[in-house]
Symmetry: C2
Subunit: 285 residues, 2 copies
Amino acid sequence: MRVLRSPAAVQRWATHQRESGHTIGLVPTMGALHEGHLSLVRAARHACNQVVATIFVNPTQFGPTEDFARYPRTTRRALALLRHEECDVVFMPAGDQMYPAGFQTYVVTGDLATDLEGRDRPTHFRGVTTICLKLFTICKPHRAYFGQKDYQQALVVRRMVADLNLDLVVKICPTVRESDGLAASSRNRHLGPADRERALAISRVLFEQARALRNGLYTARAAERRGRQALSKAAGLRLDYFSVRQAHSLARPGPSDRDLVLLAAARVGRTRLIDNVRVRLNSGR
Amino acid sequence: MRVLRSPAAVQRWATHQRESGHTIGLVPTMGALHEGHLSLVRAARHACNQVVATIFVNPTQFGPTEDFARYPRTTRRALALLRHEECDVVFMPAGDQMYPAGFQTYVVTGDLATDLEGRDRPTHFRGVTTICLKLFTICKPHRAYFGQKDYQQALVVRRMVADLNLDLVVKICPTVRESDGLAASSRNRHLGPADRERALAISRVLFEQARALRNGLYTARAAERRGRQALSKAAGLRLDYFSVRQAHSLARPGPSDRDLVLLAAARVGRTRLIDNVRVRLNSGR
């Protein structure tokens, strides 16, 4: 496994791979790897000749009051895990290589990026789309792998890829969960035992409401109201949002929409967690 | 010469050229070709195995009160000229192929894009950078050719290419002038004989002040003041700006700056014209 630090070196490597007819799979990470990331690497390994993972804690996707400084940096462990998954290349740039002096170009997405996470974190998705575009132009992947856990992020990146005619496929892989149902996240390591217990309410309520929707017990709007009520009352948890949306546009669903996603964000102590569950309703109802 | 209308077809062509080891040169145009464009095609033809020109009147770079509807559309003539210059491929998409329903992703550049042209035309460069990025990802050029006449545009595109790690070189070719000094522009065809005579003041004053600067007659600030005065008094001409800037950053120059550009924009009747002249001062003064 090669560890490269310069964008130009990775670009040369990627150009060479493409000229040799190889398929490149990209797994972008911020380094604090968990089972979710490793499942993406395995999916890339399965489908592509060459797998490149990136480790970069991207400052532009953190807001001024967010946890950039506190974000876990565990590079040595990440490299060992990526080597174990048989990554070919790890791209690990320094901050000033990605954002040199004079940097001033951003990729911005509209409606998809301004609601939900975008409402709570107004510059977040601008940072995500900008770093993803940069990683795409540097690593030249045929396929890029994202986890469903960051569902809105995956949709925003897909939208960017379509709108800017980027020649790659965005693969969205299932959320990996710990045995108690908590979605795998780098931020879980900040949770002490009591907070972790409290955090379980998020996935529990998402699954409850998803099940009720699937069973036709009530409408999207009612599921949203009930989920919101349940999480607002949950002890030690501050709800940011609980919402039921159309799965592809994140628009509010009408009575005939069948492909839905339930999304939630909440704070437990100083740690902000997000999760979501997809629901496809039978069209026969 | 092949004329392709679908982004996917051009992308397949470009991928194939790259895999075959060919060098792709791109000349983006809005179709109303003049000698300036043809000089870009010749430069590309000289340096690259494969030349692709694009013809697309890009709606997103026109403001709501600007001349999008009035912009000259002379496709048959443009194709004949490109064939004559031995272009390999012309990419000529329809508007809804470039901006399909739901399109919402833009590339935005900071300081470089907000001054001068950006002050008069606040969404102009967002449209330019977005369409250029799309044309770059579709046509996959090794080199893209722009005219110095649109000097700020060329700098903004170069900045985008650097900031987003795009794997291509932006070539800026000299402004082509008509025999009377007027910079070649698609908009010149809107000028009647009287307006055309009036328009000549723009290049004349730019060259006068450039010469005075080169001869050390006065400072950048004085040249700017004199040029502005001369064009403000010119008959039948409404000055938008006349400015002397650092050539690479477009920042206002200090006394030690040697690499300068004089830029002007003015309206003659309903037609808005821009022009610029680079000046490199001797460092011995």
